[in-house]
Symmetry: C2
DNA sequence: TCTATCATGTAACCAGTTACATGATTTT
DNA sequence: AAAATCATGTAACTGGTTACATGATAGA
């Protein structure tokens, strides 16, 4: 009977992370998420941020500390983390690090339906993917390189390195797969099974 | 201005896939999804299946063909794919194969917050993950092996091979990472930055 | 025959996204 | 000073999940 997290959205985790360092209002939180590039690895929109903040408050993990108004701008509510929020944060982070979660990459679904495409077309499409992945790898490499050059320490780039490792592994996989799809035996058996449908 | 898909849930894609081969009622669809093991790569529940079927019908991609009642069981509505449903299916599948989507693995988020854990603890947690991944890899290998042995063709196991490739790549990454975390320079600088907070 | 489980679906609730609002600053 | 964009948030809609319902069959 593992209790499920009260606010399971990963965005909540990074909110707790930032608030564990200092109280902030939602808008500023959003700015930092973007500024730090963390928004590349979560689904972030301002609206969902406000929602998540509200949920965290309701769950008692954060609390409104004060409401300030600067000039005629809308009021901003500053939130701070609570004790139970800090507990939740660390427990959650530890769990995420130690236990692989079931993820559902869309590509896996596509692969499970690959037999429905003519082998020749499948190969073409996979080659397009190969190209796109290569571009993405270049971009990420550049980003990491530039960040490192400008003094960002490696620990703040691990997630990019992870992304890179995954992308590169996928490239290798793609190459093998296109090889298999070119096998005459496969092409023949595909035509026998599906050829009549096209 | 790329029109977004009317029914973006990946479950809809596999529903279209099955219906592209023969008309079925939702319950039978669910049985096949489970039977074929495709439910390992999508988020599937019966309720969301009914929801998706409804959405697909509303979008005109599938249509109710007849309603049958067997004994005193609840009525079952049999759906068939429409022309525009078939178009949608193939276009969607091609897109998924050819273009990498932005995915948001939870582990990437965790990694982006890794600096908040003491290096020693981080290493311990990553080692637990390593173990868990190893187990998962064994299981998947076994599953693939047994399926292949019982006559399943390789094309129907690609998605498992893909999963395997990703898991293995992550293992390698983990090993490198734990190495970096053990570096005395890093440990020292972590203590200077965060040591006081513990 | 009682209990458990299967077969099949509906309904109520909650999370997340898209669209809207509105005063302040900056640019032309 | 008009137009564009920034700063900040709310509201309305829709998708997805959890919980509930109910007759049928099978096992003890």
């Amino acid at each position: 009977m593992e209790r499920r997290r009260k606010v399971p959205n990963p965005l909540a985790l990074v909110v707790l992370a930032w608030l564990s360092m200092q109280p902030l209002h939602p808008y500023e939180l959003g700015r930092r998420l973007q500024g730090s590039g963390q928004d590349r690895h979560i689904k972030y929109t301002r609206s969902s941020l406000y929602m998540v903040v509200e949920q965290l408050a309701k769950a008692g993990f954060i609390a409104a500390r004060e409401t300030v108004r600067e000039g005629q701008r809308p009021e901003r509510t500053v939130y701070e983390i609570t004790g139970s929020g800090r507990d939740e944060f660390y427990e959650w982070l530890r769990e995420l690090v130690a236990q692989p979660r079931e993820e559902y990459p869309q590509f896996a679904v596509a692969l499970s339906l690959l037999s429905l495409l003519a082998p020749r077309e499948a190969v073409d499409l996979l080659q397009k993917r190969h190209t796109a992945l290569t571009v993405k790898i270049q971009e990420t490499r550049k980003l990491v390189q530039e960040a490192a050059d400008s003094g960002v320490r490696w620990i703040f780039l691990v997630e990019e390195r992870y992304a890179l490792a995954m992308l590169e592994a996928e490239l290798v996989f793609l190459t093998e797969l296109t090889g298999s799809l070119g096998d005459p035996d496969y092409i023949k058996s595909w035509q026998e099974t599906f050829g009549s449908l096209t």
